[in-house]
Point group: C2
Chain length 151, copies 2
Amino acid sequence: MKQHGAAHSAQRLEQMISKLREQSFRLTPQRLAVLEILAASEGHPTVAEIYEAVRARFPTTSLATVYKTVILLKELGEVLELGFPDGSNRYDGSRPQPHPHIICTACRRIMDPELSSIEHLNEEIAQKTGYTIQHHRLDFFGLCPACRARR
Amino acid sequence: MKQHGAAHSAQRLEQMISKLREQSFRLTPQRLAVLEILAASEGHPTVAEIYEAVRARFPTTSLATVYKTVILLKELGEVLELGFPDGSNRYDGSRPQPHPHIICTACRRIMDPELSSIEHLNEEIAQKTGYTIQHHRLDFFGLCPACRARR
DNA sequence: CTTCATGCAAAACATTTGCAGCTGG
DNA sequence: CCAGCTGCAAATGTTTTGCATGAAG
């Protein structure tokens, strides 16, 4: 269901670094640490989680810097921001293109399901509404098998 | 593309009132004002907008009460909450069931497009992942015809 | 009458900003 | 070197909470 972890992660990291260099952004150790965390993230970490992970590797990093870096990467299209109604924001640096998510409403875990027929929707909408579609967001909410069993 | 405004709005208001009575929640003037605004809302107002609209009719209402009422209605399933990555929350009291939205990234207007093949997706996901799907969220982002012309 | 709801102000959060000092290229 | 980045702390903005008062049922 997902690409091979380590290889994909290394590739993502390279891609992010290139993008920064391309646009003459500096590669500071703090930034690099954030990039590595995001590129390697299998889950969908919050800023606070990224901050903790970065600190383990580079202890003087500040929360503000993590925010600034994440925002920068988002603007460069190298990270996908997922905001939820409860105000929590999560980030996906592993797959920065929009893709569906499925969120367990009990354990709050987020997964990336495969789903074929979505690109189709963009076209249908464009045609019916006359809008130029830039991107979309599709989330499913429900109980994962483990949490369902636990009830 | 949408139900007839006034009739549908009145019907939604009745439905909300019934739901509150059913569960023995009190019908205060402040609540009623919020219900009316939400039931009649063609757009997708923010809490601040609801607050303003309610104040026009019932000037002593506090922001906290609007929040509490909106949260109550959300829990009763009578209002749909739409959170966005920028932290803004919007509410749809006119159609409380999940439905797709299309958001213009220039003028920020939100519309409700018709789209046939969504229920189908719930099933496909349930089958592929083993989750019990409770609800979903589908948003499209793009330029509306007016904003595109303006470029 | 007896809750439950309201309104106020303070608290709680998450995120952003201003700025002095540091540092990558 | 010096523009851009960092870290700190303060500011911001939104939503939540505690509690005394008021009113719905």
